[in-house]
Symmetry: D2
Subunit: 341 residues, 4 copies
């Protein structure tokens, strides 16, 4: 069996999650992990049978045994790490967003292109069975020509205000998943974005210069319309629903729940709340995205989610922010995918 | 427009309900009402524009203008009233059960047969849209050859013990609707009955010689099996569900609710309870059964629910009681419908 | 029992529907009906026991026995008829929209105000049990402070292009119901409207100067956001859903279906489509709105849906059209309800 | 980290499934596998890093490094293997049923008891999240005192007739899971069994001396009633539902589906069929049962499903068969759990 040897750059929550999931994939060996502070990681690394634990990610990039790296460090470091990893000939899995700047992302993708390595962006929701099914129903023509896309995407609780301040804002941090999902399901590029926002959950979010509630209307190149509604706080749990409506029908994906048990009492009939947050809802999707990354590299196959996908989602996020600020729709310049992966 | 003129024998809850529903049918005129006590009914009768209010039902039977009577008096009076009404040449709508005695019912049906009048028995659930749909899915072959029928039928609360004592018992009073439903949906006669019962809701019901919880297994002439579970008390409301399973699939009918609104809060996701009881659940079915009765008489059409249907349900109820007492399955003698309606 | 005597102006589909429903209300007597052509209505009027059938609506307005009129004629005639009926001292039920012109509606309402008569506008959906329940869950605080409102409102098939041409356009003709629903559920006025539209169902609709697909974003005075998506053609039937999301939870109303039967076969699990169109979905709501109108007049009670409600929905529709044309959000001047009903 | 070293006896479908699941548990090392024929297993064993592959299970029982064995061989071999494994001091996981003979099972359990080893029986459904939830709702009093239990358990397709012939019959082979589930959920022993059966799926099953369709009524020691319906063939997939009804409410578990996507077209509204069969439905339950087995041994904890549980399910199956043959209810002698695990 051919093996893929990996280095992990950044061992925060998402980095350690990827390590756990990668260990379920027989083709993968995790050789090394880097982070700016590592003292607290030593026991963990031993348990996970990771040979190299370092504060210098270049150790990983310079290791000839390592085939690919996972970039799980803060967003501001992504673009440079992509460039360096590409220059070192490593395939790359990069968490979303690629960067907070469309220009930086374009530069990074140019390096990836030049180096001929593969780059997958961590839009994990593309691997969710419900949304994959919806996409297949669009692609096989079941719902006909798409007319309207509706995405509801609400977090169970807002992150801390400190996080908000460096998050890039609701559109770049949170809705970027929905912008990617819109392109993924619709199979068509976004050509115009109109955003509306409000601070309804927590005034501190507004004081930090961000919004916590949004409605974004999209126009697609195929003529269809789309709308996304976001909130930083749905008290009943992670609300992740999607509906696409076309000239032959509609398909909708509901939330997942821990069980389907329904309880009837003298007061009411109850069912379970949606799974709490992304770790619960997208457990399998997180496993599937890294499994597919490994497979795509080992077999030189296609990626479900490329650097270009990362770039396009950022463009939409940027346009949404601009629309929110100007109060007017923003047209997106149409680009063709020149960045090969 | 041809009219049907009616007399109502018995103006208790169900009699007055039928009056209200009959007044929605343009073809119907209610000429008279009889009951053993009528003082409290005078204002009501005036409001309902009923000409004749009498303590003597014979006044109605002897009125040549009256085409048909509704028998809504206590069960013990049904059989004799059917015989007298038939002898008077009146068409008959009789509440369920026809009687507490299979023999009495047979005698009454013989008179109906002799007189050539129509007799409909008040198995209102046959007119419920969900159950009608299930029956049609059996009859059009959608679910194939039936293998298993499951009926859940639970009341929201038990009647008073005084009622229980004269009710004929759970099988004759309550489950008789389910026995009729089983025949209606299956389109085949019951050939064997095995009953299990328990007193779990209220010891007073047991002291009155009845049970409040039951499971009855049925074998049908077509080879299929069926099972009915009953309770006198479902605290969440009237529980009326049905499922039929065959070699090409299954069809199930759920409870109806006042609205389909679903509420998600930090505690849970709630939907409405089932509609409270038969008046709420079967509102339209009660209207439809009397509308169809009128139509069948005016147009000399077929009835959905005949005296024979009433008789067969009683036979099953009687067998269930016998099975409960003996602890053994009871075989039903098979009869063909010799009683024309 | 006190009676309300009515005249009906306009006996097209909706006028005749109201007659049928009004005949279910014991307090109501329909004395007369007017229409521009009446030859085809004679048998119908006799059957419905309507004394006066006339081509001159003034006959009804001048009849001192008539307490109130139903205006069911084409929209372009509404405003003048309201003024004349008010001047004649008649209470008024007027179909939606009151007019195609906010100014005309304002003038008509001023006359109603001056005359001191009651005016109800036919926003029948306010009487739908699902939506009434949603509103009550907002008003009793169950969902907390509202943040996001989502309405999906799609017709099963477009009207003919001839109708489209005189309809006032998708916003004034179809979405006006949703604009009213938004105000009804939110309990707050709309302050800004942003509309997006497309011609995706039928090019002929575009050639007629209208759109057939729309997404409208609303900002409310209470700070909440709302979004409505409309289509003239949902092949699976009338799609009428609503969700409101607040800081304590969310409530959603689904479509109604003829039965709740679910069929499982080797191919799939099927349930029934939504009820086909407004006559099926809003059957009871149509009855309830006229019953309440009668009651409000007889008992001098409040109306669920006033002339001011009609006016506000038109203002939103007008703003939506303007936003669609300019590509920019349109702010609504805030008015207080000076028109007493 | 403490490790548990295992031997696997029998490497058919279920044995290999357990190997795959056991490899996900970090505490477990699978040292050896035995089967009567092993040539086809060599590559597989190498891939799974299994050191010992043998045709002689005694090699595993005699290996002092091996702490516990999984008995995945044919049912007829279970009892003897349990005795030998117990005598060798190995903890035991045994597939269901323990044997086809209550007496043999009792003898085997006596040896387990004497040896003081742990024995878990493979009633995997106890680990299904839906059913675990239902049990917890009974135990925490949410549904009150149980009155009625309903289990629907239908396979998607019958096994081959050759399998049927040696299967022990529908009750011992298939319904035994439901008998265990009934005890697990109810938390009370079965005291009486009444079984009805039919051959409706395939006459060849009848010719093999078995039935393919059954309804079994249970009486529990706590007074509650229960009913199980079984079929060897549900064309829409594996049908595994359960409902418990008590004096404070009811709880029901529905089938699981691959996605919750719903598709609306001009023809109907469709959702996905139930997951196809036990491998799909109980994927996680199979993992959880072996994980818990490992944990219970390493930490000397309690088992969710003991040898006594295996014995009681067999007693019910035996009684069901007897009831089917005699046409009468069969009373179960009540035993207390003298076999410590």
């Amino acid at each position: 069996m051919q093996k893929l040897t990996l280095g992990i750059i950044g061992a925060g929550r998402i980095g350690r999650l990827h390590v756990d999931n990668l260990k379920l994939v027989p083709e993968i060996k995790i050789k090394g992990v880097s982070d700016v502070v590592i003292d607290h990681l030593e026991t963990w690394a031993t348990e996970k049978q990771i040979e190299v634990l370092t504060t210098d990610y270049k150790v990983l990039l310079n290791d000839p045994e390592i085939d690919a790296v996972f970039i799980c460090s803060p967003t501001t470091t992504h673009a440079n790490l992509i460039k360096e990893a590409a220059a070192a000939g490593k395939h790359i899995f990069c968490e979303k967003p690629v960067s907070f700047s469309v220009e930086e992302t374009e530069e990074a993708l140019a390096e990836v292109d030049k180096a001929g390595v593969k780059l997958q962006v961590g839009f994990n929701r593309r691997f969710d069975p419900n949304f994959k099914k919806i996409r297949s129903l669009v692609q096989d023509g079941t719902i006909g020509i798409p007319h309207i896309l509706r995405i509801t995407s609400r977090d169970p609780q807002p992150p801390g205000v400190d996080y908000i301040k460096t998050s890039g804002g609701l559109f770049m941090d949170m809705a970027i998943h929905d912008f990617d999902m819109a392109r993924y399901v619709m199979g068509s590029e976004v050509v115009e974005v109109s955003a509306h926002g409000a601070v309804l959950v927590d005034p501190a979010i507004g004081e930090a210069g961000d919004i916590d509630t949004a409605i974004v209307t999209l126009k697609f190149a195929n003529g269809a319309l789309g709308v996304i509604d976001n909130s930083r706080q749905a008290v009943y749990g992670y609300d992740q629903r999607l509906e696409i409506f076309g000239d032959k029908g509609a398909a909708q994906a509901d939330n997942n729940r821990a069980t389907n048990v329904e309880v009837s009492t003298a007061e009411s009939v109850l069912k379970e709340k949606p799974l709490y947050f992304f770790l619960e809802r997208y457990t399998q999707a997180y496993i599937d995205e890294v499994t597919e990354f490994a497979k795509a590299i080992l077999e030189n196959g296609d990626l479900t989610c490329t650097g270009f996908d990362g770039l396009q989602a950022e463009r939409i996020a940027k346009a949404a922010k601009q629309s929110l600020e100007t109060g007017a729709p923003v047209t997106l310049e149409q680009v063709t995918e020149k960045v090969a992966n």
